[in-house]
């Protein structure tokens, strides 16, 4: 019983992270698909948007989220 409760707690703890991760990856993939299928050199706006997202993620990875 305790093991099941522990497992449920883990899923609850992780679920928001995983849902967000899945949504972030889906958004990224949509953008990559759009840029790759366009018949042009990658534009400045595409690069700038990508760099901004990377900078935000790098800041998150550098953080110590604590408990």
């Amino acid at each position: 019983m305790l093991a099941v409760i522990g497992l449920i707690q883990e899923i609850i703890t992780l679920a928001p992270v995983l849902v967000k991760t899945g949504a972030d990856l889906a958004g990224l993939w949509g953008k990559v698909d759009e840029v790759m299928s366009a018949n042009r050199v990658v534009g400045d706006a595409d690069w700038d948007a990508l760099d901004a997202q990377i900078a935000a993620l790098k800041a998150d990875l550098a953080k110590d989220p604590g408990q």
Binding site: T21, L25, L28, V32, L57, L61
Partner: protein, 130 residues
């Protein structure tokens, strides 16, 4: 969960396919710039997984869940991320620079793809898809 794995594989396939295409065709800046973009995007995808790992509860405490974050793993992820950021950033700068020799830009893209593959090896082991 399955969707996440499919997305990761798809992102890396685009990178690999672009690399193969670059190797067999005359150097063309549209293709090279897309190769750089794919590498930098794949890096972003791996960063998303690394951040998700970093948001787990810490390991090594009495109340730690089985799925937790190990401080040493976080350091390894940060280190690999820095290397991939530098290499993919260099590829981006190479393809964005006006008048750059396409073969020089292509070499930067190949280096960027290798750095992303190295980062992927670490996230494959520790990503939240476990």
């Amino acid at each position: 969960m399955k969707r996440m794995i499919v997305l990761c594989v798809a992102a890396l396939l685009v990178t690999s396919c672009t690399a193969a295409k670059i190797a067999t065709q005359p150097v063309d800046m549209t293709t090279v710039s897309k190769g750089a973009y794919a590498a930098r995007s794949a890096y972003e995808g791996l960063l998303i997984l690394a951040v998700a790992y970093n948001q787990r509860p810490p390991c090594g405490q009495p109340t730690s869940p089985v799925v937790c974050r190990n401080a040493e793993v976080v350091l390894a992820l940060r280190k690999a991320s820095e290397v991939a950021d530098t290499a993919t950033g260099a590829a981006e700068q190479a393809v964005r620079r006006v008048g750059v020799d396409p073969s020089v830009a292509q070499a930067a893209v190949v280096a960027a793809q290798s750095s992303v593959e190295a980062f992927k090896k670490i996230t494959d082991i520790y990503s939240p898809k476990q």
